[in-house]
Amino acid sequence: MIVPAGHYLVLAAALFTVGVVGVLVRRNLIVMFMCIELMLNSVNLTLVTFSRVNGNLDGQVLSFFVMVVAAAEVTVGLALIVNLFRLKASADADDVDALRS
């Protein structure tokens, strides 16, 4: 049986929302970070679905790039988090509030 495209979209939307909420409610930097990755990948799902619906490959091409970019983000992000952990011995987002007005 063939699953209608709408389902994929809904799934993607749900995943995306989970990611957003995760970023908002979790305090551990690494977990927040994973939530962002989740958002990106849910968008990938959306893109692939649309690519199938629209019958051209642009979406899949973009999703390739998204993967690569996500990897690069992982690298930079983890590097920053690790460095911060070295300085503060904490990976808690709410410990990072020295800069404020």
Partner: protein
């Protein structure tokens, strides 16, 4: 199988490399600098290797095609880098700084070359192959006025940032080999963003520049503020670019294309505004609004500007804004113009919010960098005026504003960097008291930049403000302009506060006399250059700038 049947047969896009030649120059120089830095003692050999390859490639091009200009340039550049390496073999930082400056200058040169070809006056190449408002590289890159103008803006920003950085980074001991390459990569991303005609390109470019800037913001590895700035910038940037990406996905879903122009056509052909399209536009505004620091997506701005190394802050404030606004322009004023009735009110409100919030919040700041961060927010609002006036005057106003703002921002942050070098600490407004007495020249420079930011007539800032305000009036957004005037009066308060502190208050007793200011050649050169540009564009030849911008703004019908 059905899917494969739908896929059109593949055709190889004719790749006009010269369309992205500035990006190629920047990127190539970045790689080169990185390579030479890592080569260590064998720097000279590596450089010779590069020289050999470049010369061979140039010769090949010269033989295969009748062209002589491009290969000659490549050969010269290779020779130049070889010479530089030979001379400064044992001073890697200076070498990479010089290479970076060379790269920015070269990119500007190439861009002007494109410009010449673009406006019909050929400079040694066949214009039709690579310029024109139609997008190139398989619809990925648009080489139009806005793209070229913004490229120049960005590269000028980089060109000024390099000398400002050198002594500063030395002094803060953050002068590692990646500094200038990252600067170049960030600039690459920015120029690419400014000239991207496809949402795929938009996303990639934004990520390229963001990733470089995340690292640069956190370049002071042992400085908690810098780290915090980098982390905040990173998390929020990733978050917002995810939102942007979702917006792009929705656009693609609605229109079936990632090409900006096609998407715009498909959008405008929608009979009724329909949920997905609206959501898509909203998410796009979020993505761009984050990069351009528009309220309510501005909150990272003061924190990051305060924490990041000062020259980098200046570069971020100036160049990122320019690039992001260029893409913003192409997407909304360019492609979505038929839908303006739907998005103009939104941006109107955002502009008003941004101007007022930026100006008001800046009033209560004590740290000068932070204050300038908020003022950057306010300036984004002024730029938006030229934006919501969806017309040619508006576009040219935006371009003018961004170029002038580049120099104002770099100049003021440059002076701050100069002072930080002496005081080894971030400057609060009280630290500036009596500066006009002790070192009148830097104080005068800072005063000049602040007055220009405040938009006092006779300075370039006034010309910029006038251009966008006028566009707003012409488009009938008088109320918005009035808000802008009020906001700029509020803004005048805190700019003047700094000037008063510098010139009309004395050093409080009990403050140890500071060491005399030791300005480095690079810093003074950068600051003086910015100041000269300020004065020139403020007094005698603003018309030149405005004419250029008007030419550049032609792509909006």
């Amino acid at each position: 199988m059905t899917l494969l049947a739908q896929i059109p047969p593949l055709q190889i896009p004719d790749i006009a490399w010269s369309a992205i030649s500035p990006e190629l120059v920047l990127f190539g120089v970045g790689i080169l600098a990185l390579l030479l830095d890592t080569a260590g003692p064998q720097r000279l050999q590596a450089s010779f290797l590069v020289f050999g390859f470049a010369a061979a490639g140039a010769g090949y091009i010269a033989l295969s095609t009748e062209q002589s200009v491009l290969p000659g340039l490549v050969g010269l550049a290779a020779l130049g880098q070889f010479a530089l390496t030979a001379i400064w073999r044992d001073r890697p930082r200076l070498l990479s700084a010089l290479l970076a400056a060379l790269g920015f200058a070269g990119a500007i040169g190439v861009t002007t070359w494109q410009w010449g070809a673009y406006s019909g006056r050929l400079v040694g190449a066949d214009a039709a192959t690579f310029v024109g408002t139609d997008s190139l590289l398989g619809g990925m890159v648009a080489v139009d006025g806005v793209a070229l103008f913004t490229r120049v803006t960005v590269c000028l920003a980089g060109l000024v940032t390099v000398p400002l950085s050198f002594a500063y980074a030395e002094e803060r001991r953050i002068h590692r080999g990646e500094y200038y390459p990252l600067l170049l990569f960030a600039a690459t991303g920015m120029t690419l963003l400014a000239s991207s005609a496809d949402f795929i390109m938009v996303f990639i470019a934004i990520e390229v520049l963001s990733l470089s800037l995340y690292i640069l913001a956190g370049f002071a590895k042992r400085d908690l503020n810098s780290q915090e700035a980098a982390l905040k910038y990173f998390l929020l940037g990733a978050f917002s670019s995810a939102l942007l990406l979702y917006g792009i996905a929705l656009v693609y879903g609605v229109t079936g294309s990632t090409n900006i122009a096609e998407a715009g056509r498909a959008f405008s052909s929608l009979d009724a505004p329909q949920g997905m399209a609206v959501a898509a536009m909203a998410l796009l505004i979020v993505g761009f609004g984050f990069k351009t620091a528009i309220v309510p997506f501005h909150m990272w701005t003061p924190d990051v500007y305060q924490g990041a190394p000062t020259p980098i802050t200046g570069f971020m404030a100036a160049a990122t804004k320019a690039a992001a606004f260029a893409a913003f322009l192409r997407v909304f004023v360019g492609a979505f113009a038929p839908l303006q009735w739907s998005w103009t009110p939104v941006l109107w409100v955002l502009a008003a919010l941004t101007m007022l919030a930026g100006a008001i919040l800046a009033v209560v700041q004590n740290d000068v960098k932070r204050m300038l961060g908020y003022s950057a927010v306010a300036h984004a609002g002024y730029v938006l005026i030229g934006f919501v006036a969806v017309n040619r005057a508006g576009v040219s106003g935006v371009l003018v504003y961004l170029l002038i703002y580049t120099f104002m921002s770099l100049g003021s942050f440059g002076v701050l960097a100069l002072l930080e070098r002496r005081n080894h600490k971030a400057m609060a407004i009280d630290d500036l008291r009596g500066l006009g007495r002790r070192d009148p020249v830097p104080a005068g420079m800072l005063a000049l930049f602040l007055l220009s930011l405040a938009g006092i007539p006779g300075t370039a800032g006034f010309v910029a403000k006038f251009a966008v305000f006028r566009a707003g009036i012409e488009a009938g957004h008088a109320a918005l302009v009035v808000i802008a005037v009020v906001s700029s009066v509020i803004a005048a308060f805190f700019y003047i506060r700094v000037i008063v502190a510098m010139f009309m208050e004395d050093v409080p007793e009990g403050v140890a006399a500071e060491a005399p200011l030791a300005p480095s050649t690079g810093m003074s050169a950068g600051i003086a250059f910015s100041a000269a540009v300020m004065v020139a564009f403020g007094t005698v030849l603003p018309f030149l700038l405005v004419d250029l911008a008007d030419q550049a703004a032609t792509f909006v019908s």
